[in-house]
């Protein structure tokens, strides 16, 4: 049996919108194993982004516990959470979210620099990763000088730079045309297979979701169904 990497136990996330309490997640419990490729599927407002934020240690649950590597993150301080995000989680966003004033290379180096890695070493590693995603000739371009697909590949290289256990991809192809979208997805799948990373992809696109090992469907903040 595989080791459980991420576990949610009766997780609630309640936002205060003015005076009204809105529950984005309602009593969600689930578990994701090490090395799994999971798609979290749901329409907008279903709570899938909230779920991703919790799994990515970007936010804390209102009630319930989130375990990462058997450690409860709900009671951690911000500096510890930052440490976990930096070391264990690689983020890929729909909007790419590269730092606009930094080159592709600098963007990929940034997470390593936050981990105090030596400059030369970080550069070497970042160059190798850009090579893996096929952008070795675009290293010194800024995001604005790159196409969407290229930007997302830089983001993938960045997500991989600290060699994290989990890759969290939030609608990774949402802003791409179908061609570069499928390229990006193939790249992710390849990395998942070769590197043995846990890949969690949030999407509303059922066609994409089908390529995962397991789909977790959310509706109105509740776990709807789990398809394997």
């Amino acid at each position: 049996m595989k080791k459980s990497l991420i576990k949610l136990e009766n997780v609630w996330k309640i936002y205060l919108m003015g005076d009204v309490e809105v529950a984005a997640l309602k009593d969600v419990s689930m578990s994701i194993d090490e090395g799994e490729f999971v798609a979290i599927v749901g329409s907008s407002g279903s709570g899938k982004s909230t779920l991703m934020h919790l799994v990515g240690c970007l936010d804390l649950p209102t009630k319930g516990s989130v375990f990462l590597d058997n450690k409860d993150i709900s009671s951690m301080r911000e500096s510890e959470l930052a440490q976990i995000r930096g070391k264990k989680i690689g983020f890929i966003f729909q909007q790419f979210n590269l730092i606009p004033n930094l080159t592709a290379l600098e963007n990929v180096m940034l997470p390593l620099e936050f981990q105090n890695m030596d400059g030369g070493e970080a550069k070497e590693k970042a160059m190798a990763l850009l090579n893996v995603v096929g952008l070795d000739d675009r290293m010194h371009h800024r995001p604005s000088q790159l196409s969407g697909g290229q930007q997302q590949r830089v983001a993938i290289a960045r997500a991989l730079s600290t060699n994290p256990d989990v890759i969290l991809a939030d609608e990774p192809t949402g802003n791409l045309d179908s061609g570069s979208g499928s390229e990006v997805l193939s790249l992710l799948e390849k990395l998942w297979k070769q590197e043995g990373k846990t890949l969690i992809m949030v999407t509303h696109d059922l066609n994409l979701a089908r390529r995962s090992q397991r789909q977790i469907h959310l509706k109105d903040g509740k776990l709807w169904s789990v398809k394997t």
Binding site: L58, E78, N101, E113, F114
Partner: protein, 412 residues
């Protein structure tokens, strides 16, 4: 994150900031420029005052008849426009003897002065004449010779002239060994003084002949100056001399009827006035600096707001609160630094140009005002601007660091 990496990111933010961010540092630029200009002009004024008065020698004390109350500070300068003069009892040989009896006085020079018609090659000009004790004068004068020699005791019909007398009074410049006529009597020039800004218009001659020319009695002096053995004893010697003169002039219990001023005292008084003025103007300029700091704070708040999303991204990829704090604090310190550097350059520019305008207006030309930009001022100005920048950036940076990653990421 290592500090040099944070600095690199801070530099990156600064280099990519918009024009309006640069505009807000104008407050700092102007503040620093104003302070640098004011202080350097103030320092320059000090230096030129020192140079001019230093020409008099810090160990020289001058006594003149009449006593001015209250505004007696600058007495002994020029021909003393005594407004509240109490008595006009002259200075006499007896006073010279009294002064000579005081310890620690090296030379005593009795002086008569006035104006006399001077002719050279059919040109005539009215010039200042000073009759001096040749030996004492030669030993007390601090102005060097550009040619010839000083006066010797026993010289008759010989004069030493100031640089402007030599260079620009007559069509043809005067040189050593030339004869000129003063009040109908021929005099030979034996020495020409260097330009010193002090006494450049004066003709010096032995006192006996000056009395003759200026029609003054043999027991009359317009002023007496003396040289103290050690500049550090000036105050004590001045006190001692004053007391002895009060006794010999039978003024005990009465009002002093002479003024005694040391060049040192004048120097100190002028310095304290320029200093007060510099501090006063500097304080006004400091207000501009303060406004500049508020400007930076304002820009930093905007910058943090603009960069909210980037802050979220950086937090998502592992930036800790203190990394964000460091980046924005350094950014704001850099803004201060940039403002400081520009301000210093502008200030130095102003301080070199302004005196030329002022000189033109106030007739202080002739290289009158110099400016001095001390290195310590430059360093202090930069330190202060960096500090102000950091201070101004502290709250915005703290806010940036405390942003919740999920909120920051969602910000558009």
């Amino acid at each position: 994150m290592k500090i040099q990496k944070s600095l690199k990111l801070a530099v990156n933010i600064l280099l990519h900031s918009k024009l309006r961010s640069w505009l807000t540092i104008i407050g700092i630029v102007i503040g620093v420029a104003a302070i640098v200009a004011i202080v350097s002009i103030g320092e320059g004024a000090q230096v030129s005052v020192n140079e001019r008065l230093g020409g008099l020698g810090a160990d020289i004390v001058t006594i003149s008849p009449g006593f001015q109350r209250a505004t007696g500070n600058f007495r002994g300068f020029g021909d003393g426009e005594g407004s509240a003069t109490t008595s006009q009892k002259n200075l006499t040989n007896k006073d010279i003897q009294t002064i000579k009896s005081v310890n620690n006085i090296l030379f005593v020079n009795g002086i008569v002065s006035g104006r006399a018609d001077t002719s050279y090659l059919a040109e005539t000009a009215s010039l200042s004449i000073q009759g001096v004790d040749p030996l004492a004068w030669s030993n007390m004068i601090t102005t060097g010779l550009s040619s010839g020699r000083y006066l010797n005791s026993g010289d008759t019909n010989m004069i030493v002239i100031g640089s402007r007398v030599a260079a620009s009074t007559f069509k043809q410049s005067l040189v050593v060994n030339r004869d000129i006529t003063i009040e109908g009597k021929p005099f030979k020039i034996v020495g020409i003084l260097e330009s010193s800004g002090n006494g450049d218009n004066i003709i010096y001659m032995p006192i006996d002949q000056a009395r003759d020319i200026l029609n003054k009695s043999t027991d009359y002096y317009d002023s007496i100056s003396f040289k103290v053995a050690d500049a550090s004893q000036v105050d004590a010697v001045v006190n001692e001399t004053t007391q002895r003169l009060m006794i010999s002039r039978q003024l005990l219990g009465k009002t002093q009827d002479f003024s005694i001023t040391s060049a040192q005292a004048i120097q100190e008084q002028i310095q304290s006035v320029t200093q007060t003025f510099t501090i006063f103007l500097g304080a006004i300029a400091a207000v501009s600096l303060l406004v500049g700091a508020v400007g930076i704070a304002n820009t930093m708040f905007t910058s943090v707001l603009e960069k909210t999303k980037e802050i979220g991204i950086m937090k998502a990829i592992g930036a800790k609160n203190r990394d964000i704090m460091a980046i924005f604090m350094l950014n704001s310190a850099l803004v201060g630094f940039a403002g400081g550097v520009m301000g210093i350059l502008l200030g130095i520019g102003i301080s070199t140009l302004l005196p030329q305008f002022l000189g033109g207006i106030a007739g202080l030309g002739r290289g009158g005002i110099t400016t001095v930009v001390p290195l310590s001022l430059v360093i202090e100005a930069i330190l202060i601007s960096v500090l102000l920048g950091m201070l101004a950036g502290a709250i915005p940076a703290y806010r940036a660091s405390k942003l919740k990653p999920v909120d920051a990421l969602r910000y558009e």
